[in-house]
Point group: C2
Amino acid sequence: MTKKKQTKVAAKKADGVVKVALLGFGTVGSSVAKVLAESKFPGIALTHVYNRGVERKRSSAAAKFVPSTAVWTENIDDVLKSNVDVVIELMGGINPVEGWLKKAIASGKHVVTANKQLIAYRGVSLQKLAAQHGVQLVYGAAVAGGVPVIPGIRQGLGGDKVVRLSGIVNGTCNYILSRMEAGAEYATVLKDAQGLGYAEANPSADVDGFDARAKLCILSRIALHAELNPDEVATQTISNVEAVDFVYAKELNCTIRQVSRAQVEGAVVHARVAPMLVPLSSPMAWSHGTQNMVVTSGKFGGDVVFSGHGAGGEPTAVAVVSDLLAVSQGAKAVELPVRKRQVTGEFLAPHYLRFVVDDKPGIVSSIAGALAKVGANIDSLLQRPGYPKHKLPFVVTTEPCLTGTIERAMKSIGKLDCMLEKPLTLQILAAEDKAE
Amino acid sequence: MTKKKQTKVAAKKADGVVKVALLGFGTVGSSVAKVLAESKFPGIALTHVYNRGVERKRSSAAAKFVPSTAVWTENIDDVLKSNVDVVIELMGGINPVEGWLKKAIASGKHVVTANKQLIAYRGVSLQKLAAQHGVQLVYGAAVAGGVPVIPGIRQGLGGDKVVRLSGIVNGTCNYILSRMEAGAEYATVLKDAQGLGYAEANPSADVDGFDARAKLCILSRIALHAELNPDEVATQTISNVEAVDFVYAKELNCTIRQVSRAQVEGAVVHARVAPMLVPLSSPMAWSHGTQNMVVTSGKFGGDVVFSGHGAGGEPTAVAVVSDLLAVSQGAKAVELPVRKRQVTGEFLAPHYLRFVVDDKPGIVSSIAGALAKVGANIDSLLQRPGYPKHKLPFVVTTEPCLTGTIERAMKSIGKLDCMLEKPLTLQILAAEDKAE
C-alpha cells in the first residue's frame, strides 16, 4: 500500500486544461458532450471526437454540444497520437477497443470507459498496465449506469467484508419481467422493448444473461475482491418464463426478476445470473421498468441498497463525467487486492418447479418420486383452477437443496411422457436477502 | 482544479505504516478497533486510544481488539503530540473536539470523523484548514452510518447536477414512526426506543429534528454544493404525530416518516426536517426500523436511492474504516466548489391538516373559510367513523400551497373554540419524489 507509484494527476499540462477525447458519439457519447457543455466544469475541454462515419455524427443535432475547436475524426491515431489527457471509451466490445486503450495507456493517457465486456474480461490486466504507466483506468459507468454502485462500494464499503451481492443490472430484462408481472406476455413485451430501443433485434445478450454476467463479474471484483472468469458463471435465459409463472409467484408472495448473485464461501464464489423468485418484501421487488438495483451484504455493515436509472444516455453520462472529474482531480479510487476465484453455479436454495402436463393419474407421484430419489423435499404443491386438463400448468416448490441436485431430478422428470414443455426451474431468493 | 496543493499520502513515514489514533472508545470506537483487528489491512496500525476514564475502557471486553502495543490515554496531548498519521474522532459535539482537530490538522495529521454537528457547523472552515496543511478531512460516517451516501455522491454523482434530496437520516425517528405505522402509540414506542438504546433519556435531538438537520446540511454541501447555516433550517418535531394520523395517512395511500428535504431553486435552497406524509409507493416508505435512506434527484441521472443501516457500531465503523483506507492510500474525494446559500423552509406542496374538535355545527365552514382566506384549496375532507363526537379527529388535505400560507391559516384555525388540541400540519410528499 505504501510503495505504490504515485498516479499522475490528469491536469499536468502547462495550460492547466484537461484535454478529453470521446471514442464513440452515440447515445451515451453525445450525452457526455451535452453534460460537459451544460455543466462547464472549469479546466476540462473536449478536444477530440472519434466515430466511424464521423461526418454523419458531425452534422447531427447533438454536435452542437461539442466545442467548435474540437477535432472530429474516424482515424483512431488522431486520438492516440494526440496530446489528450483522458480518453473516454464508449464503443463497447473487446476488439479493437482493447488494443486502442492499451496504446492510450502506454502513451500516458488516463482511460474512462463504460465497456462492461472489456472490463469483465480484461479489467485486471488493463488495470495492471495502467498502474505501470501511472495512469488511471476507471469504469463507474460499466455497471448500473447512473447509479454510483462502483464508486460507492470502492470508497464507502472498503472497510466492510462484503460476502454476498445480488443485483438487477439489466434494464431490458427488468422492463420485460416487470411488464409481465403486470400481466403482459413475453413475446409482446419483447417486441415493445425492441420498439422502444431497450432491446436489440437479437436480444440474446440481454435475455440470456450475458450482459448481466459481465456486470456481475465486475461487481464481484469490486465488492468481493474476487476475480471470476465470466465464461464460468452460470446463466439462465428469461425467455421461457411465462405469464402463468407470475400467477404462481404471486401466490407465493413473490415476483420474478433477472437476478445476478454472487456469494463468497471460503475460496469459492457461488455465482449465477437467472430469473429468480423474489419475495415481494425484498428490495429486489421494488425495482420496476428499466431501474437497476444492487444489494450488497457485509459482515459488519449489513445490507446496503443502491438503486436508480441503470441505462440511458444521460444517466450513463453522469457516471462517465463523474469518473472524468475524479481523474481530472487526481482523486483515485481505493484499491484492495483481488484474488482469482473458482466459480460454481450451485446455490443451496428453495426451488420453484413449473410443469405443463397432459394431466393423468400418477404424475404427481412420478415427480415426487424423482425428487425423493435425489433427496429433495417438497415444500408445497400449487395447482390453480381454470386451466385445461390436457395442458395443465402446476407448480412444486422444494425445501432448500442444491441447484445441481434439482437439475438432476428435473432431467429425469422432463422425460416423462405427460410433459408437454420443458419444465422450468427457478431459484427462490431466501428471506435472508430481504432488507433488514 | 489544476493548481491545487498535492495532498499528502498518509503512509509517509519511514516504516511504511499508517499510525492511527482513536478518539473515543464507545460503541463505534470499539467497533472500529474490532473491524481493524479482524480485517488486518496491511500497513495500518492502531497506536493510540484516547478516552475519558480510560482505565475502565482498557479493562472492557472490547479492549481485546486493540493491539497490546497501543497507548491508552486520557491526555489528549499524548495523541496530538504523537507521530500518528491519522486521527479518528468519534467523540461528537463541537467543543472541545474542534480545537483538538485543528491542532491535529496543523501538525499534519489526517482526520477521519463521524461528527455530524462539527461537520455541519464547522466543516467548511476545517476543510479549508486541512487543504492548507495538505491533509485530508473525511467524514463519510457523519451521515447514514454504513450507507455510503457521502462517498457515493462525491465520487459517483459529481457529473450530475443534483437539484433535490430527500432523506430518512435519523434511525430513532424512523424506528418510532414505523412502529407507530404498525399500530403503536408514540409514548410506548419512545420508551421502547430508550430501552433499546436507540433514543436518549432526553430524546429532543432526535425527535425534534436537530440531528437530522445537521445531516441534511452536510448532504446539501456534498450533493447540492450549497452551504447552509443549520440554525436557519426549519425543523418540526415528530412528538405530536399520533396513532390516528397513521390511520388517515393510510386512507391517503401514505405513511408518515421524518423526512429531511432540500431543493435548489436559483440562489435559494428550500430545506426542512419534518414528519411528512410519504406515498406508500415511494422509496421513503420502504424504510423501516432504524434503516436510513437518501434519495437524490439529478438533472441528468434522475433519482438515485441509497439505503441501509444508518446507525449502530459496526455499520458506522464500516464508514470510518473505509475513510481510513482512502486516506491511507491517498485516495482523495472529488471536490467541487460550494456556495453559501440562503435557506427557506417554504415548500409548495399539498398539506395534511389534522384537527381534534368538540364537534359542533359550523366547524368545517370555519376551517374552510380560514383556508379560503389565504387562498388554499381543499382537496379532500376525511372523517372516519368510530370516534366520539366530543373528541373528534378529522382531516383536511389541501391542493399544493406554500408552507407559510398554510401556517397562517392554521394559526387562526387553532384559535377556534372547538379545537381541543393544537392542529397538526404535515407536508405531503409529492408524486415527483416517487422512484419511477
